[in-house]
């Protein structure tokens, strides 16, 4: 039985996609490291392309259909998230953003997140720092320090004299991510339907379960 769950979200468009290739490498690197410290991780991969229409419908109708609800629930319940998108026009693509737009506002709070991106040229690598990282900071996620960018040429194995080869960057990020996921305590939102704030507290202006409270597990 798994004691840690990792969800990998890939917003790659092509099939096969280099974004998915990077996502899979990151997923297995994190999984290996967790196993090496005696944990039993379970990794699930979500291809957002399969949910593209459902995401649009959610934006327009305000609620997710069951397939999308399942994907959202899996991410919210996960102990760690690996989020990978191709760079489109200086940022993550629209598909990637749509998913995090419809995700529950508190769904990523304090959750370890590893961000990664692919692109045709290494010149877009800082999009991870000025587009991806602020998005997840806004969502109160705990983003690990190393973000992984893979340009087309990285798949040829060329070493960057400063940051090392792609496989080295994957290993560094995976080590940070595995440490964060292995750490025991993480808070989860209280279920306001299971534990509603008593009305006397609402009348006196106490914060309500659905807006503020979290508990440590």
């Amino acid at each position: 039985m798994a004691d840690r769950t990792i969800v990998v979200v890939s917003a790659g468009i092509g099939t096969p996609s280099s974004t998915r290739l990077l996502a899979d490498r990151l997923g297995s690197a994190v999984e290996l490291r967790l196993r090496s410290v005696g944990l039993a991780p379970a990794t699930t991969t979500l291809e957002l392309r399969d949910l593209a229409h459902e995401l649009t419908d959610n934006l327009l109708t305000g609620f997710p259909v069951p397939a999308l609800r399942g994907a959202i629930d899996a991410v919210v319940a996960a102990d760690g998230l690996i989020a990978v998108s191709p760079i489109f026009s200086a940022s993550y693509n629209g598909l990637f953003k749509m998913f995090f737009d419809v995700l529950d506002r508190d769904g990523l709070a304090e959750k370890p997140v590893l961000i990664a991106a692919t692109g045709g040229s290494p010149r877009h690598s800082l999009a991870l720092e000025h587009a991806f990282r602020p998005l997840f900071a806004y969502l109160d996620a705990a983003v690990v320090p190393t973000a992984v960018y893979a340009a087309t040429e990285d798949w040829g194995g060329a070493d960057d004299p400063i940051v090392g080869a792609l496989v080295d960057r994957i290993e560094r990020a995976a080590a940070e991510m595995a440490r964060a996921v292995a750490a025991e305590e993480r808070s989860v939102p209280l279920d306001p339907f299971a534990d509603p704030t008593p009305f006397e507290d609402l009348l006196t202006g106490s914060p309500s379960t659905s807006s503020a409270s979290r508990e440590t597990r």
Partner: protein, 377 residues
């Protein structure tokens, strides 16, 4: 069980003809819909409240007062009355006058409203939506239950020695429903006061409706108003009917595809599968509606949305006639036969008056609200 019509009062272009009715026509058609609701043998007509185009229902008690004069039987209600941005003192006064004019045929459903700019237009902040709903209703409740009120709160100027006039008819305030799609605090509020809870049951999959109703019922029992399955629940629903279901689909599709709330999104078929929208034959509407009981339990009020998305008035009136002739009589019979013993009907003025005659004026119950220290002058 009560059956009725609720209208959001939208002015939407008919996608088949390209024609947009005037505000004047839309207001008159809402009155025509209310009158047909009574003529068709239904029980409730409820008006929405909006303060922005393309809606016309900014002053529901004015319209309901006019309808009251032209009807004898139906209950006049709202879906919803904005408890966040309307002054609770004015709500107390307006609905008390309406109650006297309509001989008690009045209740109301409170809601927060989700149109952002309406809050600042009325001097409020949408981020205070839930606290506004809680504090304003605490005041409204006192204004109706206590003859002289001293009051101080966060959001409204204080009151000392204030009497809301006229006093409720026969000393019985209008019954209050609280409507919310997904906010547990509102289900909690309805439960605390022993008021009704209404879910609009239109935009959401049934699991969300179920979760809210279940919370309300559980907490209704917790606050000592009675067993959970005796709590007062209302649901919305959205239907379009023709004798032949394929004709219904064909005729409704352009309205669905261009409707402001879901146009451009999922297909009609997908939406019907995922939400309670039913487009088909009267029998399909009967079957689907009876199915609501399976996920919320025995409930007291079913309202249908039939007049939106630019549907022409004649078509809407046909829908009400079909509900009255073919659907509601069967639903009344079937719901009655299935209903568990002891489950009460929805409160009406006459029933509340009879109950008050059997007990002291303010029946004591654990849920009888007392003003918290923080909001007492």
């Amino acid at each position: 069980m009560q059956f009725g019509i609720f209208s959001v009062s939208d002015v939407t272009t008919d996608p088949n003809t390209g024609r947009t009715v005037s505000e004047h026509e839309r207001i008159e058609s809402m009155v025509a819909i209310a009158l047909r609701t009574e003529a068709a043998g239904l029980d409730v007509f409820a008006s929405g409240e909006h303060h922005n185009p393309p809606f016309v229902a900014s002053s529901p008690t004015t319209m309901l007062g006019f309808v009251a004069a032209k009807t004898r039987r139906i209950i006049l209600s709202t879906a919803t009355t904005l408890i966040t941005t309307s002054d609770p003192v004015k709500i107390a006064e307006d609905f008390a006058v309406l109650q006297h004019l309509a001989d008690g045929r009045v209740d109301l459903m409170l809601g927060r409203g989700n149109t952002g700019p309406v809050y600042p237009w009325f001097g409020q902040d949408i981020r205070n939506g839930v606290p506004l709903a809680i504090e304003n209703y605490a005041l409204l409740h006192r204004l109706w239950h206590e003859d002289v009120v001293d009051w101080q709160g966060r959001f409204r100027t204080p009151l000392t020695g204030f009497t809301s006039v006229p006093r409720p008819l026969d000393g019985i305030p209008p019954f209050v429903w609280h409507g919310s799609i997904r906010t547990p605090e509102i289900a909690e509020q309805a439960a605390y006061y022993g008021d009704g809870f209404f879910h609009n049951n239109i935009f959401w999959p049934k699991e969300h409706v179920q979760r809210m109703v279940e919370l309300y019922r559980r907490r209704y029992e917790h606050y000592g108003h009675g067993p959970a399955d005796h709590a007062i629940v209302g649901l919305g629903g959205q239907v379009f009917m023709r004798p032949n279901s394929q004709d219904a689909i064909r005729e409704f599709r352009p309205y669905f595809d261009h409707a402001p709330v879901y146009g451009g999104g999922p297909s009609l078929e997908a939406y019907m599968e995922q939400t309670p929208l039913t487009v088909g034959s009267p029998q399909q509407v009967i079957d689907r509606t009876l199915g609501f009981r399976e996920f919320v339990g025995d409930y007291q009020r079913q309202l249908f949305l039939v007049d939106h998305a630019g549907l022409p008035l004649d078509t809407v009136l046909e829908q009400i006639d079909m509900l009255g002739e073919l659907v509601v009589p069967v639903l009344r019979r079937e719901f009655e036969a299935a209903r568990r013993p002891g489950v009460p009907d929805a409160p009406t003025h006459a029933r509340l008056k009879a109950a008050a005659g059997r007990a002291p004026r303010e029946p004591a119950s654990p849920g009888s609200p007392t003003l918290p220290a923080a909001t007492t002058a």
